[in-house]
């Protein structure tokens, strides 16, 4: 299915806040809106939902116009085929879990493709909670019910506003796999707002970075993360994302080799299957550079590449170096002095020494 891309153009002026975005986004997978608080990402989501009305706006979702101020078109929220998961608990307190799900189900768009709510309930693991009242649920359970309720209306777009922000770290780790399953099994496109870098790495197919009401970067997640201009926003979490497949398992040392376009990396074998597709995250702070291959080193992952670009880091002592490895890209955070001493410049051949690789999904 190749739906028309989403177009979201918004301009909004508030006291002490200005929002101006113009985005064209693929109508599939998870698009993450990422940025610090106050960057306007929730406002974008609320405008797409019609909960707020931007003065100048064009919202076209999969070819359908939801809002076009030039044509004086504004569909109220209840006429937009969307699902919305709010940041905090938003379940109806006067209904039990079944009643909350039924509320969305009864009002579902009859023209939309049927969605097996039973499957969603099972996918989210809330089957045993049906008779409970919202106040009898844990924070993670509530958000899972809220997601199922939003899906019950058979939305053509699911909007999630920091659905994990009100949960503690353990609960977040509980619920992330559910979201990944939704992405992989339901194929409902999602617009996902967060300020947590780990959620970006695990969930995003497309990444939009917002800062002070403006789009800093937008595009496929691996490209945006490997862009040396983005790390200013990402700070400590700057890093590249690599997609690869498990090519080899070393039983003796409990390691697995993941091959990606442009090289391969060894990482801890956490029970991966040969041929499995995986997503790896390599933080810039875990990559160092050398102009000759180091011999006597504990680092197992040495990758030959070429410097593509160099940008200033978050601190004046630092620099971010983008290294091309075939078709893939790594980011390395080194000191500005090292850049000078090694005479690094675009085109310089280097060896990237990768200390840590994280498996994110």
């Amino acid at each position: 299915m190749n739906a028309a891309p989403h177009r979201i153009r918004l301009a909004l002026t508030r006291p002490a806040f200005q929002l101006s975005v113009d985005l064209t986004l693929p109508a599939r997978g998870i698009t993450v809106l990422f940025g610090p608080s106050g960057s306007g990402k929730t406002t974008v989501l609320r405008c797409v939902a019609g909960l707020e009305r931007a003065g100048q706006a064009l919202v076209r979702i999969a070819g359908e116009v939801w809002q076009d101020e030039a044509q004086r078109v504004f569909l109220p929220t209840w006429r937009r085929p969307l699902g919305y998961v709010f940041q905090e608990a938003s379940l109806f307190e006067h209904l039990d879990v079944r009643g909350n799900l039924a509320y969305g189900l009864r009002r579902a768009d009859p023209g939309a493709p049927a969605l097996a709510l039973d499957a969603v309930v099972e996918l989210l693991g809330i089957g045993a909670l049906m008779a409970r009242r919202p106040h009898q649920l844990s924070g993670g359970e509530r958000q899972r019910v809220a997601i199922a309720r939003a899906l019950a209306t058979r939305p053509r777009l699911l909007l999630l506003d920091e659905p994990l922000a009100s949960l503690d770290q353990a609960r977040r780790q509980d619920i992330l796999p559910w979201l990944e399953r939704l992405r992989d099994e339901l194929r409902v496109p999602m617009l996902y707002v967060t300020h947590a870098a780990d959620e970006v790495a695990r969930l995003a197919d497309t990444l939009v970075v917002l800062d002070q009401g403006r789009v800093v970067a937008a595009g496929p997640v691996a490209e945006v993360l490997a862009d040396v201009r983005t790390p200013v926003v990402l700070g400590e979490d700057a890093g590249a994302l690599l997609e690869g497949t498990v090519a080899e398992r070393d039983a003796r040392w409990h390691l697995a080799r993941v091959a990606f376009a442009g090289g391969h990396l060894w990482l801890r074998d956490s029970g991966l299957a040969l041929g499995q597709r995986v997503r790896l995250r390599v933080l810039a702070r875990d990559v160092s550079l050398a102009t000759a291959p180091a011999r006597h080193t504990s680092i197992q992952n040495l990758l030959p590449g070429t410097v593509q670009a160099i940008a200033a880091g978050a601190h004046p002592s630092q620099a971010l170096v983008r290294v091309a490895l075939g078709e893939s890209v790594l980011l390395a955070r080194v000191t500005a002095r090292a850049v000078d001493a090694l005479r690094l410049a675009p085109g310089t051949p280097v060896w990237a020494q990768v200390k840590t690789v994280a498996l994110v999904g």
Partner: protein
């Protein structure tokens, strides 16, 4: 026999008046309280103060102005006459009109507080679940505001049963038409029928106590009567 035929008449009339007042007030006060809870209009404060006026004004003041307004020369009175309804003072209709004004804050304020406590979020959630505004109001706001409605209904009813000044001013004290329990008690006392007055007065005390007890029981969360 505890109560005379006149007493029973007065009790029946009081219950009829209080029931009708409560019913009409809930219908009137719901949109008014909703507007007060949600609007950002500059008319919010003046309208809110106007609604609360009967709380502080002497009932005689209210009764006097209603009498003037509803009387043959008042503009409401002219309207009712033009419509062939006659004039309202010294009739059950006038009594009802007076009770509606007098008890209005007791219906509006609990509802307004309930609506404010709910906040805008549940309505937003309902809208994202495809509920039209009226649908959302009926299926989300009304159930969530239930304690507010219980409080508003009980307070309106009890307050109407307990009114005296307005009734006397606008209703006169016509047996069978506008003589309610409170004015009947007054009549008994005037006539030095203390035993009769006692029975009715004690019944009022008992009724009021049970009403307030029921209210705190129904709205378990707080032991306060007023929100």
């Amino acid at each position: 026999m505890l109560f005379s035929a006149d007493d029973l008449n007065a009790i029946g009339l009081t219950l009829k008046l209080a029931s009708l007042t409560t019913l009409l007030l809930l219908l009137l006060a719901t949109p008014l309280a909703w507007w007060l809870a949600r609007t950002a209009s500059r008319w919010r404060a003046p309208v809110g103060a106007l609604v609360a006026l009967p709380l502080v004004l002497p009932p005689t003041v209210l009764g006097f102005y209603l009498l003037v307004l509803l009387g043959p020369q008042g503009w409401v009175g002219r309207l009712t006459q033009a419509l062939g309804l006659g004039t309202l003072p010294f009739s059950f209709g006038g009594l009802l009109a007076g009770s509606l004004v007098y008890s209005l804050p007791f219906a509006v304020q609990p509802l307004q507080h309930a609506f404010e406590a709910i906040g805008p979020r549940p309505l937003e959630v309902a809208a994202t679940l495809r509920a039209r505004p009226l649908d959302a109001f009926l299926t989300v706001v009304l159930p969530l505001a239930r304690p507010g409605f219980v409080t508003a209904a009980l307070l309106s009813f009890a307050h109407t049963v307990g009114e005296f000044g307005v009734v006397l001013m606008i209703g006169g004290n016509i047996p069978g038409q506008t003589r309610v329990v409170s004015t009947q008690i007054y009549g008994h006392v005037e006539a030095l029928e203390y035993a009769q007055a006692h029975w009715l007065a004690a019944a009022m005390v008992l009724f009021s106590f049970v009403a307030l007890l029921g209210l705190t029981r129904l709205n378990r969360r707080s032991a306060r009567v007023l929100p």
